[in-house]
Amino acid sequence: MITLHHYLVLAVILFCIGVFGVIVRRNMLVIFMSIELMLSSVNLVFLSFSRFLGSTDGQIWVFMVLTVAAAEAAVGLGIIVALFRNKPTLYVDEVKELKG
Amino acid sequence: MDYTVAALKTFLIFFVVINIVPLLIWLERKGAAYIQDRRGPNRAAIFGVRLGGLIHSLNDVVKLLFKEDIIPSHVNKPLFILAPMIAMFVATITMAVIPFGDPVVIGSHAPFLLQVADLNVGLLYVFAVSSLGVYGVMLAGWAANNKYALLGGLRSAAQMVSYEVSMGLSVVGIFLMAGSLRLSDIVNQQGANLFHWNIFLQPVAFFIFLAALFAETNRLPFDLPEGESELVAGFHVEYSSMKFALFFMAEYAHIIVGSCIIATLFFGGWNIPFVSSEWIKMNADLVLKILWMGLGLFSVVGGSLLCRRFKKQRYGDLRDFEPLVFGVPGVLTGFGLLGLFAIFGNKVFLPEWGPSVLLAAIQIGVFLAKVLFFCFFFIWVRWTLPRFRYDQLMKLGWKIMLPLALANILVTAWVALVN
């Protein structure tokens, strides 16, 4: 019998893997992908509560999150490409021109 | 039980698609030949039977299966092997939601669907799957570690992403007409009246969809990812043997799937113009007799035409007898059918489940006929139009098709609101 808790714990695990990726990796693209993973696991929480409460509202918010993720991907990848053009590296700790 | 039936249906549909592929390759070669005013393949033969060049496709299958499979040392091996699998997989799973006919109702049993899954989000599923098609091409281009392949992969990614936008927007008009994303609802909404088909109600959407579909299948006016005259062979330069064959098959499977979608969305799916399903069901006996007679007459006429082509000593070997091999049995079957009709024609009456099954068979036949016509259309276009330049391609996609699709949505929504 699968309950709400199963889905919540799964979402927590996936979210924390995303956090782990953001902390550990130095490659901007992989950090970005980890953020997408975190967004998706939040969607999982929204949907499991929507299923639990029997209301469709949660699905609407997932829709919003998907839109935000799409916008974020477009702008973020634009920034990465623009950054790469100025300084051919993808590693976050090599981009420190603004460090005081 | 349900799972077994679904698995059987899946297998059957996959089998049919895989078997139409060699037929399409033959059609492509012959079509190309006749468009370019030559005869096309006509040499390969089994005991003198050439089937007008169809044996060439069989030879190709054997050749590609038994060739040495070379994996160059500089490639990225896992992705190199994965890419053709993705291409083939994605090309065929779209068939899961295509409806081939009305659900068959026999007695008090539950209706038997003539499609694998009647999804509530059918059309979105089609788009979701077709948007994955780009992975096969991109990963192949990247994994091959070859500049031509990489260029092909990049081009195809840019092209597919651009055209998918107009493709998705062009069918919004159809959602608005049908009020549903379920493919069977869309077909039922079009009905048997020819002038209610979406080709007449949504002509702009049809042309946008068609152009975008050509781009998605990487066929000729948009075959920049392959572009043999500029990129050698594009994304599949490094492939050989069965891996190449998978890409080749995926292209044709894509054509078949695309034709299925066009037939479903714009040409009334399984509907026959001006002959409603109820009428066929009511007059099943009459329809059966007409079909019987028609088949007999067709066999007789076709067989005798073939027999007339027989001329002794044209080649001086077994090939002389090729028309007879098909002509004589054709004539005999035809006369047999007609004779049986003369004897039993008035005594046959269908059992209770007869009309439903007959209707389903006719609908599947009509649907396949439409699909084959569009497959031919793909080939026709390929050998008629030249290739776009890259900037023209992008201009067409973003500056012409996208605004047109948006305008189409606006007009359709307005009309739907007024009604």
């Binding site: 699968i2 309950t3 709400l4 808790h5 199963h6 919540l8 714990v9 799964l10 927590v12 979210f15 924390c16 893997i17 995303g18 956090v19 990726g21 902390i23 550990v24 693209l29 992989v30 970005f32 992908m33 980890s34 997408e36 993973l37 998706s40 969607n43 929507s50 469709t56 509202d57 609407i60 997932v62 829709f63 998907l66 839109t67 799409a70 916008a71 974020e72 991907a73 477009a74 702008v75 634009g78 920034i79 053009r85 993808l90 | 992705l79 999804l119 509530n120 989000v121 979105l124 979701a128 799957v129 994955l132 992975y135 991109m138 281009g141 990247w142 990489l150 990049l154 549903s180 994303l181």
Partner: protein, 164 residues
Amino acid sequence: MESIIFYAFGGLAVVTALLMVTRQNPIFSAVWLVVCFFAFAVLFLMLNAQFIAVLQILLYAGAIMVLFIFVIMLLNVREEELKPKVLQFSGILGGGAAIYLIILFALGVLKEKVASFPILPADFGYVAPVGKLLFTKYLIPFELTSVLLLVAIVGSVVMGKRKL
């Protein structure tokens, strides 16, 4: 049946997510993340969210990840060279933080008593109910997302231009 699918695809999602964060080559990360999103889509289907599940594939796997791979191919990224010291420290820190967070959240979740799912109407999560809600109760947020998308389009065009 339900629990088999949940454990199979939940496990797949976790494994592929771990593979995603540990691959050195970003293109493998991207491919594993695509597989992970498929597992997510199956889980969404299990939660009666057909429409969202298909959107997940259409948007994430079909558009966003294609963009990622496109950028990786375009920049022709080399494999990440490992800097053992840095990796070690940040690895310990990240791993510790992740495990701490997992335990914290899981304990918080499991403190509540077990909540099983109710039975839902047949058309829950279909396109029509979601769409109806989207265009009535949530009309203003929905319209605002279009503004967000417009801003994103303008922003990415500005970013992409070599000089304005």
